[in-house]
């Protein structure tokens, strides 16, 4: 083989290898993910951005993320994407819209940032539901664990609900941490002030749990005010509770939910036949926020927020 022939062969091989690489790349770029946002607000964009970053950090495949708002023509968008591998609906409105498309969707359909209350209301009696939903709520045991860490001596755990449904689960979770549950049922039309007063009279600590009737934002405001007057700490389910005067809150940032959704898409890709992914899951990652002024005035010593997260994770792993 002379030198000229060698050069020709080398070029051919180089072009061939480049061709293979390009073809691999082209194949990878065909994975399309459609993200449907309920509204044009920062929280929804945070979910999308985090999802996009997490998917593109891995090397095996390249993902193209397309986003659309729930009020736009989702049907047409799905049809225009030939290599669609997943749809992610962010928020209740987007989930509702995507779910209405029903049979048209033949790719995995994920729903994120959904309150459990909405999930139960929308999908309790139907098979037509998202393949997997990542809730925005925290498991109630996580809030109870935090209550125990912050108040080691408290005994009476108070909650305000609009119906009895959750009561038993909360009582069981509370008992595991040595709490006796005191629940107040506040139905629509009833005077919330009387209910809150009743709750505070019989509680050492109050858990603010999501409830569209018992704990509207106004009721939450007055719960926090009256609880503070009575020196009763309140643990909330969103950071807003801490900002408005609660002692502490456990919550998951939209970024963490976006990341969890991305990991879910990747795990779906690798899913073996006998593997089962739960249809509804709580956020895996979470943050803890503490109102230091409230803690100080209630004479509660609080360790760093990061330590609290670690303590909570340890508590959860012990249970598992």
């Amino acid at each position: 083989m002379n030198y000229q022939t060698f050069l020709v062969l080398a070029r051919v091989c180089t072009i061939f290898l480049l061709g293979i690489l390009i073809s691999i790349k082209v194949n990878a770029a065909s994975e399309q993910v459609l993200v449907v946002l309920s509204h044009d607000a920062p929280a929804y964009h945070s979910v999308k951005n985090s999802l996009s970053q997490t998917l593109n950090l891995q090397q095996a495949k390249d993902f193209q993320i397309h986003s659309i708002f729930a009020y736009e023509d989702i049907d047409a968008q799905i049809k225009s994407l030939s290599d669609l591998c997943a749809i992610v609906s962010v928020g209740v409105n987007a989930t509702n819209r995507v779910n209405q498309l029903g049979q048209i969707i033949d790719v995995p359909n994920f729903s994120v940032l959904i309150p459990k209350d909405a999930y139960d209301s929308l999908f309790q009696n139907t098979y037509n539901k998202p393949d997997v939903t990542i809730l925005i709520d925290q498991p109630v045991s996580r809030l109870i664990d935090l209550a125990r860490i912050l108040l080691p001596d408290a005994q009476r755990l108070g909650v305000m609900l609009s119906q009895d449904g959750q009561k038993q689960n909360i009582a069981i979770a509370g008992r595991k941490q040595g709490f006796v549950l005191y629940d107040v049922i506040a139905r629509k039309g009833e005077n919330p002030a009387i209910k809150i007063k009743d709750l505070l009279d019989r509680s050492d600590i109050v858990l603010a749990l999501p409830d569209s009737v018992a704990l509207t934002r106004q009721n939450a405001k007055w719960l926090l005010y009256m609880a503070y007057q009575n020196n009763i700490p309140v643990i909330g389910f969103s950071k807003a509770y801490v900002d408005a005067g609660g002692l502490a809150a456990v919550y998951t940032a939209p970024e963490a939910i976006g990341k969890q959704a991305a990991e879910l898409i990747l795990s779906f890709e690798k899913l073996a036949g006998d593997q089962v992914i739960p249809r509804m899951m709580y956020p895996r990652e979470f943050s803890v926020s503490v109102n230091q002024w409230v803690a100080k005035s209630l004479n509660i010593n609080v360790t760093e927020n990061a330590n609290l997260v670690e303590e909570l994770k340890r508590a959860e792993s012990r249970v598992q």
Binding site: G91, R97, T216, Q218, K221, W293
Partner: protein, 719 residues
């Protein structure tokens, strides 16, 4: 699609504007949206162990369980406070005694608005317009707090915090009926000696609270009637109305509007002379305030408050000048000879004036106050800075009190700052109030407080205060004189020293707070020393000569007349200790016990004799103007939603009240109250029976104000 668009708009609206959920279920907005801030920086209560003052809190349960019929009476539960019904319509309260019927130097705040009245240089407790039912708690600062609240917080601060409209949502109606003398006759609860037979003690109270726009509001109307003390002309009919509206403009920004009105028709005592007739006194008291509060960042807040107080008291009466001079001279107006002498006396004394109608009164006039204040709070976990500034205009229009038809004004400005720094177990608190007014110019009140936490249950505090109280507009301008129908002011009854200086109060206190968590108890002890100088008080101005009156004839006709002059005429040193013990032994038993021991010495220059220069006569001893022992105990058994009974015990050793007050012997008073709540479907009710002063009669303020056993039956319904 239309529905979806509507739903989307609904969520957006919920996220950013509305407080009302649009769905039957939660959405992510419930997790991501802010909650209106319930605890602003100022509402983050300072633990008592860190407060730069001695504080006592009367909470709602104590307020109601005390069975107090008047708001002022609950202060009997505060160590060092003396409370009295000077008449059936005028109530007074003081910290460390030495006080007249109108309590000067005690700041009374209703949700931050000063209830001070320039016309009285004091507070009219009877027409505050706020009912005990409207109050959540009362925080009492025992001792001067001028560095925080200004000159009128000279002796202490009573901070009344009303309930939030949200807490009172719905309809509430209450009626109370009682007797001033329950033991004399059960069958005839109406007082035999009552100048208004048929008038017993009654109260009606109606309240409605609900939600409006993004706010909560409350409307209250009440009416009270009471015959007053036995045999005295001090009945009262008082109608009140008040409104409060709390509006959330956006999370962290709230508006608080309050309006109070009170109209009182009361009796006025007198000694039945032309000079001092019994009669009526009508009071119209209006107040409105608007507070804007904005949380700029965690722990930071700014606020602007504007308020206006309007107070009009009408207690004028008329008589002939001849009758008045008849009382002065002893000449009989009905005797023809004396009558002609009186005519010539009037002509001689008043430079040719003839008889005519004269107008008299006691505290007649119209006073107003406008106040604007800006305040900013910045705090971290180890420090807190509160600073601000304000301006105020006080005005009085009173022909009788000021001898002019013109309205007199006093404009003032103030700057204040308070800085608190925590060093591990030591908290240092420094504050100063700089005030400038037209009466005395610039003056200031500083404070330094140290709180040392020995451990979580034991705190020691040391506080040094220097407070100044400027003469009020009334004190610095008073020229009280009755006037003739031709408009001419005649004899002055009260005048003022034009060179008056501010009162000063230097105080030092050492405090100890012991928290006993196992018993849910606390014990607060306070040892103190106070030095009051330049006290503004009245003195009789001997041989006063009014340039418009021919006093040469006074001796001829035997007219003895010397006016009073308000001046810096007394000093007082007080020392003692106080204890405030609270315990909750069981969920159904709690007790509050207040005890104060005081020793005081002081002198009051009762007379000024201008004929012999500036020398003074008639020094009066003030050592009996503070009671040696004061006790207030309240024990509460049971819970209001079941059967609750409460027993109050109040004791005060002998004390001399100033002004129209007298030497009052020591007394013990026992109050007993039973209350029971009941419920019927959506309606809730309360029934209460209260006995005030179960045993022997005692006297309040004056030796003829006999406080017998009062009994009240109260029924309330709410739904």
């Amino acid at each position: 699609m239309k529905n979806q668009t509507r739903q989307g708009l609904c969520v957006a609206f919920f996220l950013f504007v509305s407080n009302t959920p649009c769905f039957a279920y939660l959405t992510e907005a419930d997790f991501l949206s802010p909650i209106p801030n319930a605890l602003s920086a100022t509402r983050i209560y300072q633990p008592v162990s860190e407060a730069p003052a001695s504080m006592s809190v009367i909470d709602r349960e104590m307020l109601l369980a005390s069975g107090a019929s008047e708001l002022v009476d609950v202060l009997r539960l505060v160590p060092g406070f003396q409370v009295a019904h000077a008449t059936g319509t005028i109530y007074t309260a003081s910290y460390h005694g030495s006080i007249e019927e109108w309590s000067r130097g005690l700041q009374v705040l209703i949700d931050g608005r000063a209830a001070y009245l320039p016309l009285l240089s004091a507070v009219d407790w009877a027409t505050l317009g706020v009912d005990i039912q409207d109050i959540q708690r009362i925080e009492v600062v025992r001792g001067t707090n001028a560095p925080t609240y200004g000159a009128n917080a000279f002796r202490g601060v009573v901070n009344i915090i009303t309930r939030l409209p949200f807490e009172d949502r719905g309809v509430h109606i209450r009626n109370s009926t009682g007797s001033r003398d329950a033991r004399s006759s059960v069958s005839n609860i109406k007082n035999q000696n009552n100048p208004l037979p048929g008038l017993s003690s009654r109260k009606w109270y109606a309240r409605y609270a609900d939600r409006l726009l993004s706010g909560d509001y409350r409307v209250v109307m009440s009416y009270a009637e009471d015959p007053g003390f036995d045999g005295e002309n001090d009945y009262r009919y008082v109608s009140n109305a008040n409104i409060r509206w709390l509006y959330d403009a956006k999370p962290g920004s709230t508006f608080d509007y309050q309006f109070y009105s009170s109209y009182a028709e009361t009796g006025r005592n007198g000694n039945d002379t032309a000079f001092d007739q019994k009669g009526d006194r009508d009071v119209t008291s209006l107040a409105s305030s608007l507070l804007w509060r904005n949380n700029t960042a965690p722990g930071a807040e700014r606020s602007v408050r504007f308020y206006h107080n309007y107070y009009k008291m009408m207690d004028m009466f008329e008589d002939s000048l001849k009758n008045l001079i008849s009382d002065f001279s002893g000449l009989d107006v009905n005797d023809p000879v004396d009558s002609s002498i009186l005519d010539s006396l009037i002509s001689d004394r008043y430079n040719g004036l003839s008889d005519g109608i004269i107008t008299m009164g006691k505290t007649n006039g119209l006073a107003q106050r406008y106040d604007l204040e800006y305040q900013q709070i910045q705090q971290s976990l180890s420090s807190k800075l509160v600073w601000g500034s304000g301006m105020r205009i006080d005005s009085i229009n009173s022909r009788l009190l000021l001898s002019t038809d013109e309205t007199l004004y006093d404009s003032s400005a103030r700057v204040f700052a308070n800085y608190e720094k925590s060093f591990s177990d030591l908290i240092v608190n420094g504050g100063i109030m700089l005030e400038f007014n037209q009466v005395v110019g610039l003056y200031y009140s500083p404070r330094l407080a140290l709180n040392y936490r020995v451990n979580s249950n034991h705190t020691i505090r040391a506080i040094v205060n220097r407070a100044m109280r400027s003469p009020s507009l009334l004190e610095s301008e008073i020229e009280f004189a009755f006037y003739h129908e031709n408009g001419q002011s005649l004899d002055k009854l009260i005048t003022h020293d034009p060179n008056m200086k501010p009162e000063t109060l230097n105080s030092f206190e050492l405090g100890y707070l012991w928290l006993i968590p196992s018993l849910q108890a606390s014990l607060d002890l306070k040892f103190y020393q106070e030095k009051l100088r330049n006290r503004i008080i009245d003195a009789t101005w001997l041989h006063y000569k009014n340039p418009n009156i021919n006093h040469a004839v006074d001796s001829v006709y035997g007219i003895a007349y010397d006016p009073f002059v308000w001046r810096n005429g007394a000093w007082q040193d007080t020392q003692g200790f106080e204890a405030d013990f609270r315990v909750q032994l069981h969920r159904h038993f709690r007790m509050s016990a207040a005890y104060a021991y005081a020793q005081t010495e002081g002198e009051w220059e009762r007379y000024v004799n201008l004929q012999v220069g500036d020398s003074h006569q008639g020094l009066r001893d003030l050592s009996t103007t503070v009671p040696e022992h004061t006790v207030g105990i309240l024990a509460i058994i049971g819970k209001p939603h079941k059967l609750q009974s409460s027993l109050g015990f109040y004791r005060m050793t002998d004390m001399k009240w100033l002004g129209i007050g007298e030497d009052i012997p020591a007394y013990n008073r026992y109050d007993l109250r039973f209350a029971k709540s009941f419920r019927h479907r959506l309606m809730k009710g309360d029934l209460a029976l209260t006995f005030q002063n179960l045993f022997d009669e005692y006297f309040e303020f004056q030796a003829h104000n006999e406080f017998k056993t009062n009994v009240y039956l109260e029924l309330a319904l709410s739904y």
